[in-house]
Every structure is written in structure tokens, then in C-alpha cells.
Amino acid sequence: MIITRIKLNPFAGIANAELTFTDGLNVIVGPNEAGKSTIFRAIQKVLFTKTQLHRRDFEKEISPCIPIDGDTASAEIQFSHNGEQYTFRKSWGARESVELILPTGSTLNDDDAIEQKLNEILPASEAAFKSILMTYQSGLQQTLQELKDEYPETLQNLGDLLRAALLNTDGVSVDKFKEQVNQLYDDQFRRWDSQRNQPEGGRGIENPWKKNFGSIVKAYYLKEKTRTEHKNAEMLEEKYDKLNKEIRDFDEAIGRMSEYINKNSSAVNDAHERRTLQAELNSLKKDIDELKNVNENWPVVESKSKEIKSQLPALEEKFKELKEEKERAELMEANKPLIENVERGKRLQTELEKAQAELNKTKKLDREDLKKIRDANQFYEKLLNSIRAGKLKAKFTAKRENQLKVQLDFKPKESFSISEAEAKEFEAGGRIKLEHSDWILELTSGEGDFEKLEKELQASAQNLKKILEQFDIRTVNEAVAINEEYEQELNAVKNAEKNLKSELGSDTLENLEKKIEFIKNLKPARDLATVAVEFNDTKRDIDSKKNELIKSEEFVGAYEKKYKTKDELLTKLAKAFGKENEINEKIEQLLPLPEGVSDFDAFIREFEETKGKLEEVREKKNNLAIEKARIEENLPEQSVEELYKDFILADEVFCSQLRRGKAIARLKEVTEKSVELLDIGTYEGLENDIGKYVAVMTGDRYSDIEMDGSLPKGFVRKDGKILPVEFLSGGTMDVLGLAIRLAIAKYFLGSSDGFLVMDDPLVDLDPQRQKKAAEIIFNFAMNKQTIIFTCNPEHAELLGGNILQLD
């Protein structure tokens, strides 16, 4: 965009003016108040200020531009873009209008549409124009000087300076901004412990910070205050409710108990009276009972006494006899084993005598006898056997019939007849003897002397027979049987003797009988157990009778002592009956017990308890009433519901403050970070241009700029020495300012068509540098349209170009 013409008709103090610009350097020269600033403002307003404005914006942006005697400000800019011509016209105030005539001849009349179109045409942003490309009376060099003065410590080199310059573009001082953010942060967070989400030091509403706290703490305290008020009110309300209920309950109880007391007080008085009378009556009844008792008992005990006295002598006699019998029985009991000993001895003696009698009746054939018999028999048998042990066989054959006798061994002779030619065989041990009337044939076995043997045999048989005859028996077996019987009887005697001996020991029966002989002389007695029982019974009977007697006599004594005579006793009893009647009559006069109550004591007790309880309850109720009055004093003058609304609102405010705090904290964080971000990559390309401009303007005194990474560090002097910014002179500083200005302008405009507007940059330079600066500006204007305002004609001349003179 290249501005070709500007028309003001009217605009601020200028009623009508028209200036035509070339696309190179244009210098508008005129004395102060000639309208330079009005022209500058007109360009700016036409390009960037809408016609439809809210009142406030209008006041701020346009009001100064309205002519004093008019109501409308109008201006027009003609400009070329890519070789095509545009006309841009605006009026503000009463006849507000906007018009952008396009190369095609068509027109835009809407602020927004025009703005959009302009954005396409303008080579840099509105902001870049306002702060870099169109500056009036806010020279950058001046800014640089301010920065240098403001931050002498931090501006150590060109980089710092450049950064400060760029950062502060748009009129926002980073430090001031940071300061503001910190202030905001502080105002918001002071005394607030974000981590614990409470005031610092845990100082809640009960121990609050008194001053110097931020908005969050303030909102927190307010919220807590309303919350506490609400809670307290709620608590009080509940307590109040509870108290009222308790008081109501007490009142009910008091009513109930008072009614009971009123209703029953007479009855209870009578009940008291009744209790006294009843006690009296009870005591009287006891007396009557006693009198009656004595009255009955007195004759009874008297006769009892008499009876016992009559019974006692017989009993005592009986006791004496029993005692003697008991002594005898005891003696008998003591000798009982000896007596039994004697009896058993006698019995055994009898048994012995019996056994002996039996033995005497038995034939005597003892073991010796039996042995003799057996021996004789054995001897005989032995002889017999030895004959029988030989073997003789004889065969006899008769030639004719014959009569014969045969004797085999010692067997008797047997006759036999034998027929003709008959043969007979005989067998024997030692002898076969055949006797014929004619002859005797005796056959014997070879070794023995059968004759002798026969004699011995006969002798032994004789002997045996003789012995057996001695015992009047015939066989050995008989002897054995007799011996057995004899031995048996003998044994019986021996056993009886042994038993007797064992019973008597070394003593004799006679001796023993002598020892117990005296008992036989005693008077007989029953067994000790029977006697002892009877003895004891009798003794007890006597004792009991005696005791009874004593008691009876005591009673009688006591009665006599107390009542003297039975008549007197009767008189007393009659009196007591009279008294009893009297009391009963009194009781009948008294009020009865309430219905359902049967026990006077329980009734009185209940009445008294109720009375006590009533007092207790009354006192409790009074205490509650005092407490209630205290609570009433403290009851809030707002309902809990209303207080709750207050709390909700305060809580909303607190949350809103927290949210705002969060945004502020975030802004603080991002602000810190943004400052760091600014260091990177902003300055590339700028330094070359700055260096070039500085070298030209200082007559090559400074040849280059020393870089430190992407940041320029300082000027390099011809001798190679690097000069930090703080050592630059004021003039050189102005040079630097201009250099930066031009470099940045070039940077923002890039390759587009564009323009740079500034006020006189030569003001504080020495003539030498003015010349050099003018050259540079001129050269700059060769590529980018430049419009300079100056009040100095010399400067205008020095700068050259299209000079536009204002009157």
C-alpha cells in the first residue's frame, strides 16, 4: 500500500486540505500547530478507526477530531496497491459514513467488510502500524533513552536493549505488567495457603488475620462467618426446639402431678392417721394375743407340772433296773467269745467221742496187718506162678478103652475116660500126672523140684490161710476192704482230735469251763442293744420330763410374777378388748384409700414421692426456662433459612474468587514463561540491518554488531573492541534508535508495498550524523514509501524527497 493522496474536509482544526504523496520520501514540513499531527491522525483514523462506534470509543477516538464549529469529521485517503488505485473515505459524527472505492469502481460501505478488505491490502498488522510504522512524537530513540535510564543495571548490551525495545512495543512494559500481575496475585492470594486451601497458619474465622489479606482470604472469612452464623443459628434453633419440648413435657408432668396431689392430699392425711392407728391396733392385738395365750396356758402348765411330778419316781426306778441289766449285758457281751469257745470245744469233744466209738465198732485190720496178708499172698502167688510158668505137653493115645485120672500141676485130679484109639492131649506148667488104676505116670518139667515146690506151695497156702483166719476173712480183697473201713474211722478220730486241739489250744476244756463258770451264776439279761435302747429312751424321757417340769414351773412363776392371779389376768384382757374396739371405730371414720390402691404405705409413699418429684420437676423446668431465656437472647434476628441463603451467596463469591485466583496464578506463570520465550528467534535478520545503518551513521566508527547466539551483544569498534550499549553516547544512542526503527520497519514490511510514517528523526544528531541519517532514510525511502513530519525546514532540505510545505 502506497498512500498517494490525503484529503481532510474538515478534520479537527483543518477545514480543508489535500496532500499528494510520492512513493519515495515525503517530508511534511511546517511550524508547530500547522496541522502536522492532524494529518498524521487523519491517516491513522481513516485506516483504523471505524465509523460506527460506541459512545465511549467515540469519545476517546474521534471527539478530538470533530471540528470545533462542526459536528462531523471527514477525511479521505487515496492509495495504490499492486498498481491499482483505491479511495477510502470516512466521516464520523453527525454524518457518519464510510466508503472504500475499489479499483473496479465498486464501493464497500460496511465497516467490517472494509476491515476485511484492508487486512488483505495492509502489509503489516494494525498494531505494527500503530506502534512501529506510524509513530508520531514517540520516537524510538526516545524510548531507548528511557529504557536506558530506567534499567541501567539490566541493559548490559545491545541484545538487552533490542529485547527491551521489542518487548515494550505496543506500549506494554513487561516489568510493569509483571508488577501488575504480581500485584494482582498478591491482592488475590495474600495470606492464603493454596496448598492447604486455607488462610496461612491455619488462621480460620476464630483467629483471623486482622489486615493485609487478599480477596480469597476475605471471601473465605465472609463465607466462614456466614457459615458459622448459619450453623450456630441452626444449632440454637434446634436447642431451642428441644428446650421448648422439654419444658412442654415438664409442664405436662407438673400438671399431672399437681392434679394427683390435690386430689389425694386429704386421703393421704387420713392414710397417715390410719397408719398410726393401725400401728396402735397392731400392738394392742399383740397384747391381747399374749393375754389370751397366758390365760389358756396357765392352767395347762400347772397340770402338766403336776403330772410330771407324779410320773417321775416310777421312771427313775425303771431307769435303775435298766442300768443294772445293762451292766450285766455288757459283762456278757464282753465274755461272749470265751463262752462261744467253750461251746465249740464241747461240741468238738462230743464229735471226737463219737468217732472213737465208731472206730471201736470197726474190725481192726491196720496197715501192718494188711501188709502181712499181702506179703503171704504174694509169696504164694509167686510159687504158683513159677509152676505155671513151665510148658509141658503130653499126648496120650489109648489102645483100648480105659479109665484114667489126670492131675495138671496142682489142679485137682480129674477122671476121664478114653475110648479105643482115642488120643488126648494135656498141657501144664510143670507137672502132668496121669493115674491109671495100674499105674501112675508123672511128667514134670526138667529144672524144678516139683515135690519141694509143691510142699512150699502148700506151706505158703497154709500160711496165707492161717493169717486170713486170724482176721476171720478168706480173701485178700476182703482184707483190703476191712482195712479201708478201719483206716477211714481212724482218720475221723484223728481229725476230731485235731479240731478239738485247735479250739482249745494249750488250754483244756475243763479249765475254760471254769473261767466262765461265774457268768452262769449271773441274773440273766437281754442283749445289750435292746437294753441300751430302752435305757437311753428312759433316760431321755426322764430328762425331757424334768425339763418340761422346769419350764412349766418357770411359766407359772412368770405368770404369777406378771399377773399375780388368773383373775387379774382376765381383767387385763377385758380392758384390751375394749381398747381395740375404740381404735377400730376411729379407723372406720377415716377416708378410704383411692380406688385401686390397697396398700396404705405404698399410697403414702407414692404420694410423698410424687410431691418430691413435683418439686424436682419444677426446679428442672425453672432451670430450663432460664436456659431458654438465655438462648432467646442469642437467637439471631434472621431465620436460619435466610442465614443459609447468605452462606450460599458467600460461598459462591468465595468459589468465584478461587477461580479468579486460579486464572491469576496461571497468568503469573505464563507471564514468566513468555518473557523467556521472547529471547528466542526474535531478532534474526535485524542485526545485519542495524549494523549496516549504525556503521553508515557513525562514519564506520562502529563496523559491526557482535552477536551472542541469536542476540546482539554490542557494537564492534573499528579497532575490533566490543562496546557494550551502556557506554554509547547519547548521540550514538539516537543513531541506534533510528537504526533499530528502520530495521524493524523493514522487518515488518518485508517485500510488500508499504509505508513508514515518523516524525523528525534528525532532531538530536550532530550535523555529520544528520547528513548520514538523511542518506539512510533517503535510501530506505527508495524501497518503502516514507512520510516524515518535521518543523525544521533545514532538516526537510537535508532529507530531500517530496517536500510538502504546511502553512
Binding site: 460506541h54 465511549r56 487486512n119 498488522s125 494494525e126 498494531a127 505494527a128 506502534s131 512501529i132 521489542l166 518487548l167 515494550n168 512495543t169 505496543d170 506500549g171 506494554v172 512494559s173 513487561v174 510493569k176 505488567f177 501488575q180 494482582l184 434453633e237 434446634e238 431451642y240 426446639d241 421448648n244 419440648k245 419444658i247 412442654r248 426456662a625 432467646e632 437467637l635 439471631p636 434476628e637 434472621q638 431465620s639 436460619v640 433459612e641 435466610e642 441463603k645 447468605d646 451467596l649 468465584s656 477461580r659 479468579r660 486460579k662 486464572a663 491469576i664 496461571r666 497468568l667 505464563v670 507471564t671 514463561k673 513468555s674 518473557v675 520465550l677 521472547l678 526474535t682 515488518f748
Partner: protein, 373 residues
């Protein structure tokens, strides 16, 4: 003979409105004016009975001056009888209630305070009716006071049998913890009365639209008392005819109206619509609480605040919350207003990249405007 009555409740005299310091006095006072208007309305309508079904007062510590003038206002009722039932806010402690003792000392002959749960026979007030009263005796109660009515015999010689109670009604007024004398419709209807005059819920009128079948009536507050009360403030004027047929009409009585709105703005037009809606013909007695959300172009932002501030001059009270309202700061805005490479440009650009930073971006933007030379 018909019976005509005006039913109100929940007047909450003595509310402080300390959250609205600028208009506190007016709001507190308005409730007395409304009471006065209601009494006048009842007089105009020639009501026989003027009924306050609880919470005539907001709390126990209402000033003596306010108690006295309340009694005086009610004394102005020209019908046969005004009955006042203690509600849970102005509950009564028989013979021991400063509030009600003072009120009783000031009330006229034709004003009856229903102190007890009992049948009030009103024939000596020339009313052929028995009133079955269930006053509150504490702020909270998990049981209601109407239980005794069901089993009590209703005098057949008396024409109208009317119940009056204060507390929550299931499905009508919320009482999740059952702390406010909770009642049910069945429970009330089973008492065998002709009509129930109720109080407690100030935010709504019940039934929403009356028919001749309705037997239970809650008037709502006659004068709105906060932004949670969105209606205009109403009473019931109820007639029971010879056949005990009920006809009820709702009458608006509120002086002030609390209007709460949440509005999403997207452009200056929305903001303008807001002005149109609330500024020109709006009643100067209204209170407005706005919650603004959405995004509007930066250029409209300051205008919006002008509009909102302008509303304040037209309404009694305007409160707005713009915490969730964003001015649209786009990358275009940033590029337009700030030089690339400058600190504000860097900062805002960085913040605009993250949607979460929107509030921070606003803050930064506003702060930059302040700091800018």
C-alpha cells in the same frame, strides 16, 4: 349462606434481606405493604374469613414495633374473623411466646390466634363453622399435628368443617428429611373435613390450577422473598357455597418480583435483546439476577457492561454474574491489536492456544489494556 375466605400464609414478616443492602429496607417493608394490600383485598372481596395459615412472621425475634403494626394491619379486616395459625417459623409456645403474647395484646376482638390443636367453634363469630387447627409448637417436627382430627366426631349441626395446618405435603412441597410436620394428601383427606387451608411452601401455589374437586390449598407467599421464589406472590380467594362446593381463584398480590435467569450470549444482538427484555417496560419493583454465559465478540463486551449497568437504573436491583461469560479474544484480535514479537502478543498468543486458559486470557487481555500506555 356461603362462606368466602382469603387464604394466605408464609408472609415472613421480619425477613432482613441483608444480601441486598441497597434495597434491604424496601424489601423488608414491602411485606408489610403486601399484608396491608391483602387485608384490603379481603375487604373488597367481602370475605367472611381472613386466614393466615402459618409463618406470618419469619422468626421469633421480630421487633415489637413490627408485631404491633402487623396486628394493626390485620385488625383492619372488616369480615367476621381473621384467624392466625402459628407456623414453623413463628411457632407458638403456649403462654410463653414473646412473639405471640405481644401479638395477642395488640390484636382486635375479631382476630383469633389458633394456639392449640383443637376444634375452634366459631358460631359466636357468626360463622357456621368449626375450625380444626394444627399449629406448630417448634421449628421442626418429624410428626404432624393433624393426627387427632380424623377420630374426632364432627358436629353435624355445624355446616362447615375446615382444617388449617402448616407443614410439608408429600409430592407438593419438598421435605426430604421429613422435618417440617410432614403430611400426605390421603392423611388430610381422610380427616373428613370440607377443606384444608395450608401453609409452609412459599415458592409455589397449590394446586397449580384449581378445580372444584380440590380440597387442599397452599397459597404460596403473597410477596416473593428471594430468587428461589419465582412466582408473582399470590393468595387464594375461596368460596364454599351452600352445598359446600368449592371455587377458588388465585389473586396476584406480590409487589416485587424476583427474576432469575441464566442466559447464553453469543453476540451483541443477544446483549441488546437483554436490554429490550428487561429495560423499557419493566416494573421498577423487580429484582433481576442474571447469570451470563457464552462468548461475545470483544467489541461488544464493554457495551454489555454498559447495558447491564444501565439496567440497574431501571430495575430495583440487578445482580449479574459474568464469571462464565467470555469475550471472544481470537488470534485475529491479537494479531490486529499487537505487534508480532511484542510481549503482549507473545503472551496472549500463548494463552489463546489453550482453550483451558480462556479465563486467564481474558484477565491478561484486560490487564494489558490497563498497563498499556
Amino acid at each position: 349462606m356461603c362462606l368466602k375466605l382469603l387464604l394466605t400464609a408464609d408472609v415472613h414478616l421480619g425477613l432482613k434481606f441483608s444480601n441486598y443492602p441497597e434495597v434491604q429496607q424496601e424489601l423488608s417493608e414491602a411485606r408489610f405493604n403486601t399484608l396491608k394490600n391483602i387485608v384490603e383485598l379481603a375487604n373488597e372481596q367481602k370475605c367472611d374469613l381472613f386466614v393466615v395459615a402459618g409463618d406470618l412472621f419469619d422468626h421469633q425475634r421480630v421487633s415489637e414495633r413490627d408485631i404491633v403494626r402487623t396486628a394493626q394491619i390485620i385488625n383492619e379486616f372488616q369480615g367476621k374473623l381473621a384467624v392466625i395459625l402459628p407456623g414453623n417459623h413463628d411457632f407458638i409456645i403456649p403462654n410463653d411466646s414473646r412473639l405471640w403474647q405481644k401479638f395477642k395484646s395488640q390484636k382486635g376482638d375479631r382476630v383469633l390466634l389458633l394456639e392449640e390443636c383443637k376444634v375452634y367453634q366459631l358460631n359466636h363469630y357468626d360463622l357456621d363453622m368449626n375450625l380444626y387447627s394444627a399449629p406448630c409448637q417448634s421449628k421442626h417436627s418429624s410428626t404432624n399435628n393433624v393426627g387427632w382430627i380424623k377420630n374426632i366426631s364432627k358436629e353435624s349441626a355445624v355446616k362447615y368443617h375446615i382444617g388449617i395446618a402448616h407443614g410439608s405435603l408429600q409430592d407438593v412441597s419438598p421435605d426430604p428429611d421429613k422435618r417440617f410436620y410432614p403430611m400426605t394428601k390421603d392423611e388430610l383427606l381422610n380427616c373428613g373435613l370440607d377443606i384444608w387451608l395450608m401453609g409452609h411452601t412459599d415458592r409455589i401455589q397449590y394446586p397449580p390450577k384449581s378445580s372444584s374437586f380440590d380440597r387442599i390449598f397452599y397459597p404460596g407467599t403473597p410477596e416473593p422473598n428471594g430468587f428461589d421464589c419465582q412466582h408473582e406472590g399470590k393468595v387464594w380467594v375461596i368460596t364454599l357455597d351452600e352445598e359446600k362446593k368449592i371455587s377458588a381463584s388465585s389473586v396476584v398480590t406480590g409487589n416485587h418480583r424476583f427474576i432469575q435467569e441464566k442466559i447464553k450470549l453469543t453476540s451483541s444482538e443477544d446483549a441488546q435483546a437483554l436490554v429490550n427484555k428487561y429495560s423499557p417496560e419493566i416494573n421498577s419493583k423487580n429484582l433481576l439476577k442474571l447469570k451470563l454465559t457464552g462468548r461475545i465478540p470483544k467489541k461488544d463486551f464493554s457495551t454489555l457492561f454498559e447495558i447491564l449497568e444501565g439496567l440497574k437504573t431501571k430495575l430495583l436491583y440487578v445482580e449479574y454474574n459474568t464469571d462464565e461469560l467470555r469475550q471472544e479474544i481470537t488470534i485475529e484480535t491479537i494479531n490486529k491489536e499487537f505487534t508480532e514479537g511484542s510481549f503482549p502478543h507473545k503472551l496472549l498468543y500463548h494463552l489463546s492456544e489453550n482453550a483451558d486458559d480462556y479465563e486467564t486470557l481474558q484477565l491478561a487481555y484486560n490487564l494489558i489494556q490497563e498497563v498499556r500506555k
